[in-house]
């Protein structure tokens, strides 16, 4: 059932696993206290990379699209978490309006994700219907799924104060679209209903750098609790704000930041005796994961002829754009011959499951979130995110997955910090 893990388990990660397992009651208590102060995102998924010497989140998705990769065994857990989430937000709810990502409705995998979400929230006791975020849709349409089932998507119906469908007035509107193209007017000024996640969680307003800044804060607190170096769970980062991709000097900031970050990583590697060539990842600060991501091992690569043209995808093909430079965390997990990275899925504060994203054509230092990726849900099946105290670190899949669940929750907590800091409606006490 459990995929073979060939993680290079040398030194630090075993210590980390050991420390995390020993500290389980302290860790769970710490999370409970954090959740008293901070509101977890309604749902989320976190991509994690296990480098053997460090373990870090590389992407936190607040509009997760991989619930179809969970095994049916994980369904009861997801349903129970959904019940707990709904109960806190809108206990009197009858109806949930789910708003999918319009441009993904042609993708089979995405339809399976939608179906799974509909299933989870229906089994949690809600009437769930899908609303199309596209003015051009004026009638209900039926989408065919690979398993022979169907989903109906209906046109949204906006009144002055509420959003719904024909004969369907929801208490909660659950967005599964990342709003990277901006916030549609139809979603604005909804003050009577719960819109989840909030609009400022969309990629038109979110910044990766802000998330990782919050994560750094969380990682420091957590590392203090466990008496360890936060670097073991934190990917260092730096950012450049707006970069002009058309001019050679436009990349000056990127170049100097790449150089500085590589130096910092080299120092850390030396401290831990890690025999790896450091690399950094340059990516758009304001876009969903994977898009036009670039691996750099030396700042000089940025001056190579044609470099800027080849990598304009980072800014989405635009002449300018904000970029983040992040410490590259190689992934040493493999399934057979393919490079693998774990993805942890959460609803409310609970880890409800996870899966491996694998990609046979990608290297250990590249993004696996790219066409050609496949998914293996077996890894996190059943009770594997529950640790087995007493087993040696590094040898027990359940213990490994507990550790992934902790890192996933740290990233989720960082997203909670981030959303508080960026909330346009937050009350400020000074």
């Amino acid at each position: 059932m459990v995929p073979h893990l060939v993680t290079a388990l040398t030194g630090p990660i075993n210590e980390l696993e050991q420390r995390i397992l020993e500290s389980m009651p302290a860790i769970e208590r710490w999370f409970r206290l954090e959740w008293m102060e901070h509101t977890p995102p309604f749902y989320s998924s976190v991509d994690i990379r296990n480098a053997g010497f460090k373990l870090a989140p590389v992407d936190t998705d607040l509009f997760p699209g991989g619930f179809n990769n969970l095994t049916p065994d994980m369904l009861p857990l997801a349903v129970q978490a959904a019940m707990a989430a709904i109960e806190k937000i809108c206990p009197e709810a009858k109806n949930l309006l789910l708003v999918p990502e319009p441009h993904l409705l042609s993708k089979k995998f995405y339809l399976m994700n939608l179906q799974r979400l509909v299933q989870i929230f229906s089994l949690a006791g809600l009437n769930v219907r899908l609303g199309m975020l596209d003015d051009r849709q004026t009638d209900a349409s039926t989408l065919d799924l690979p398993d022979g089932s169907h989903l109906e998507v209906e046109p949204l119906l906006r009144t002055k104060r509420r959003l719904g469908l024909k004969n369907f007035d929801p208490c909660t509107i659950l967005l599964n679209t990342d709003l990277s193209a901006g916030v549609p007017k139809v979603l604005e000024d909804l003050h009577e209903q719960y819109l989840l996640p909030p609009l400022h969680a969309g990629w038109s307003q979110r910044r990766k750098s802000r998330h990782f800044q919050a994560y750094e804060e969380v990682a420091k607190k957590f590392a203090k609790l466990l008496g360890m170096d936060p670097w073991l769970i934190n990917p260092m980062h730096t950012q450049c704000g707006e970069v002009d991709w058309q001019q050679p000097q436009g990349l000056d900031c990127v170049r100097s930041n790449v150089d500085a970050l590589l130096t910092k990583i080299r120092r850390k590697h030396k401290e831990y005796g890690i025999n790896e060539k450091p690399f950094v990842v340059v990516k758009a600060d304001d876009g969903p994961s994977g898009l036009g991501l670039m691996t750099v091992r030396d700042a000089k690569e940025l001056d190579e002829p044609g470099f800027r043209e080849r990598h304009m995808a980072i800014t989405g093909g635009q002449p300018t754009g904000e970029v983040i430079i992040q410490e590259g965390v190689p992934t040493y997990e493999r399934m057979n011959e393919a490079v693998a990275e774990p993805v942890v899925c959460m609803i409310d504060r609970y880890v409800v499951g996870g899966f491996y994203r694998i990609h046979a054509d990608r290297g250990i230092d590249q993004s696996l979130n790219a066409p050609g990726a496949s998914f293996v849900p077996l890894a996190f099946a059943e009770s594997h995110h529950l640790p087995r105290p007493g087993e040696k670190p590094g040898v027990s899949a359940p213990n490994r997955f507990y550790m992934y669940g902790v890192i996933g929750r740290l990233a989720m907590l960082a997203a909670a910090y981030e959303l508080e800091a960026t909330d346009p409606n937050a009350e400020v006490y000074e």
Copy 2:
């Protein structure tokens, strides 16, 4: 995986299953609203009987002892529910003191139950230790489990205001002893810690008649929601208060109540065209389930020679005692040749699993909670308490188990009503 069900599925139960499935969103919402007003017991298990024509709880245990019968698959669900429960009661908790039933510590099955409880609450992130409710225990002792593992039980340490163990000060004290012998002094006047369930949930103060009175209220509300006859889920009952078992006229009240109840059942059977001989069950009103339970089909049986002597066990061998007379609900579920009844396990408001109690030597009209009973945990394995909408009633195990989960939760809600009504510290507004 799923045991063969040979329930006599004629008429009403299929309609009930259908009605319950169709009404799932309304039912879940109704429970959510009830839990806003009422506090669920910390944990509970409910014995259910499926007569084909009606489905009813027959016993609600607030100190459940069957967690060892859950499959490992159900563990994540139990852990998540335990996390939710602890979070509400004592989020800053580090330590949980579990107080087992002293006279069951020689039973292997009970030790396995304790081990499972320790596992659940440890995995929820608490330091769990066991405290012995017996003054004679002055040192820690080690108990050997059938699987080769061990549990340590320590003497309780009481200070003026708190209860704990040596070097162990818990936030919450979880009782797994039903206190049928009365409330020990060591548990009295603990106002700084959470004592769960509260003392008045113990059998020295609890009355079955009070529970079923609360259940009747719950069943009526629920039946109104679904537009159905509450009798389909409610076992009728009546009670006699103190009965003098030594005198023939001591049973006068029992005799007339048995007669009246049998008449009421006969009327209901006629209404639904049920071709069954009615029976009632006479049992102690203030004791744990099963003990000295007696099946009666005719009030005349009470006058048979030697009857009172044979059934003095009802009052625990005492000359007098309180009794409850309850409509007998036959169980038509079978595993192979043995009579079976489902048991639903809950933590906080969540169904975390269930199992079948089976007994090869007992009839469909007898208590299965007796020596010789065995347990089949397979039935409720995995996601089987999640319904599959669209499947025909009566043919789908998951749908059947969803229905059991609903009835289990109704009985748990009744226990919440009951504990509120009997709370000696309740504030009364008049």
